[in-house]
């Protein structure tokens, strides 16, 4: 056959490892990525000229970040890297792109989707005030722009990003007002046995907490009912911890409650989805190698379910090997087996992490009707509950039609998960029943393109 046309979407750890394996096999994949430089969000590079060393930008992960970045020059000429390019629609055999040179279409025989994740946002009073950012966003401000989101910053979360970002701010010389964990301290002990499967990773997490404690940063666990208050900006954060009402003065807050997969392109590609009870989201169904339900469409990394950066590297390479095998090309079967074994081992740690940071259901239970749930369109949690009960909208797409929740510019990226949680809880139904917001092209807002959107 003619040289197969392979496209990889996403230049994070999964996409870059997939590209490396494909190039190694003699293919010349097209790599589509929205950023100017590879690394994904986890290893995001600042624009040229920042002059900051990797150790400062990526801390204990500097070596991994540097290795991923180094793949780009190493693969130069062997991959077709389309930087600053959005894949905004996906068909059975083609992607619509919008890049610096304008719109284009790229056809493929095989597709690897390594589309990554975003912060999992949950609404709480004041979360739309200027100065409230996603935790990952707070981290990006620091590493990609050398800026802090405020001068006295509080952090709220339910995942391993919480102590990491707080620690990075501390080390950058920013006043850290408080670190608020929405999950109980006892959960950390429950997660411990499995997290011992990766002692180095566990040690890093403990190191971050130790540094915060040594610096005298107040750390609270099982934080309930967070509320940001201020006139047009963040002035203070109120919350409950240990049954006691507390208040922290701050001018910014980094808050998110885990991660959620970016799955729009897999949806448009026609991949079958299934509910993953561990991460409480619908993800593309896949086998251990990353094969989706669609022939010659592969999913890898956090876009296929939340596994973290190390797992993403392994999964990207594994998916590439599956692709080679499925195209009848030679591939290293021993390597493929080793990758799957390594992924299974990492999953043990991941299960420990999930136990240490369980989903904070109280954020959904305590969410008052007046709080804005959809920040694009300004729709309240109460409006969604009303649709769920009075209008019998048991599924998020139906609720979207009634309320406009998820219909705004973010297409439900920031509210879709919360909407499913609120809907299911309001109706007393299983979370999986609430479904997932269907993806619509363009998957992100694009300028009107004459002749393309007809």
């Amino acid at each position: 056959m003619a040289e197969p046309r392979v496209v990889v979407v996403g230049a994070g750890p999964a996409g870059m490892r997939a590209c490396a394996a494909l190039a190694e096999a003699g293919l010349r994949p097209v790599l589509v990525d929205e950023a100017a430089r590879p690394g994904g969000r986890i290893y995001q590079q600042p624009p040229d000229g920042a002059g900051r060393p990797a150790r400062e930008l990526y801390g204990l992960e500097a070596a991994k970040a540097t290795r991923i970045h180094a793949l780009a020059p190493a693969l130069a000429g062997r991959i077709d890297h389309r930087a600053e390019t959005l894949a905004w629609n996906c068909f059975a055999d083609a992607l619509d792109l919008l890049g610096p040179g304008g719109p284009s279409r790229v056809e493929f025989d095989a597709l690897v989707l390594a589309t990554g994740a975003t912060d999992l946002a949950l609404p709480f009073p004041g979360w739309t005030l200027p100065g409230v950012y996603a935790l990952g966003g707070a981290q990006i401000a620091l590493k990609a722009q050398g800026c802090a989101i405020g001068r006295r910053v509080a952090f709220l979360g339910a995942g391993p990003l919480l102590p990491l970002v707080a620690c990075q701010y501390l080390e950058a010389g920013v006043a850290v007002a408080a670190v608020l964990d929405a999950t109980p301290f006892l959960a950390k002990l429950r997660g411990l046995p499995r997290m011992l499967s990766a002692p180095a990773t566990l040690a890093k997490g403990m190191l971050y907490v130790a540094r915060l404690r040594r610096a005298g940063v107040p750390i609270f666990f099982d934080v309930r009912r967070p509320r940001v208050e201020g006139r047009g900006r963040v002035e203070r954060l109120r919350f409950e911890a240990g049954g006691v009402e507390r208040e922290v003065a701050c001018d910014a807050l980094g808050a998110s409650f885990g991660l959620r997969s970016e799955t729009q392109l897999a949806d448009l590609a026609g991949c079958r989805f299934e509910f993953d009870p561990r991460t409480r989201q619908h993800v593309p169904a896949r086998d251990a190698a990353g094969r989706s339900s669609r022939r010659h469409v592969y999913v890898a990394g956090d876009g296929a379910g939340i596994g973290g950066a190390d797992a993403a590297e392994l999964a990207g390479e594994r998916a590439a090997l599956a692709l080679l095998e499925d195209l009848g090309l030679s591939f290293d079967a021993n390597r493929a087996a080793w990758l799957e074994g390594s992924l299974a081992r990492l999953d043990v740690f991941r299960r420990g992490l999930e136990a240490a940071y369980p989903f904070p259901e109280h954020m959904v239970r305590d969410l008052d009707d007046a709080t804005m749930l959809c920040r694009c369109e300004g729709i309240s949690a109460g409006a969604l509950r009303e649709a769920a009960i009075a209008k019998d909208a048991g599924e998020v797409n139906r609720a979207k039609a009634f309320t406009r929740v998820g219909m705004g510019r973010c297409q439900g990226r920031m509210c879709g998960r919360a909407a499913a949680e609120v809907l299911a809880m309001a109706r007393g139904e299983a979370l999986g029943q609430a479904g997932r917001l269907r993806a619509q092209p363009p998957v992100k807002p694009i300028p009107m393109l004459p002749g393309v959107l007809s």
Partner: protein
């Protein structure tokens, strides 16, 4: 000013305007960084009260969409600031 620069950037200065008021940033700053080093927010919220200053910083939430004087719009967190940009926050035009 919502943001605070904690790592000095040695690159050249960029002059731009926010609602016609002159502002300065550095080459390599995103428009979001540039604006939030000069202002408390990015834009007025079009469906209700208050202002918005972005949220995710990774091109997903679209909270940081801002308009230029020519009517075109960009996502401020993924657009680098450049000389002469003239952004509107919607704060004064009703």
């Amino acid at each position: 000013m919502q943001f605070a620069r904690v790592k000095p950037r040695a690159s050249a200065e960029v002059a731009f305007t926010i609602d016609s008021r002159p502002a300065r940033a550095r080459v390599g700053d995103t428009l979001m960084t540039a604006m939030l080093l000069n202002a408390p927010a990015l834009r007025r919220f079009e469906f209700g009260e208050g202002a918005r200053a972005g949220f995710c910083l990774m091109g997903a939430c679209q909270d940081c969409f801002v308009a230029f004087v020519d009517g075109s719009r960009v996502r401020a967190c993924t657009t680098l600031v450049s000389e002469g940009m003239a952004v509107l926050t919607g704060a004064s035009d009703g």
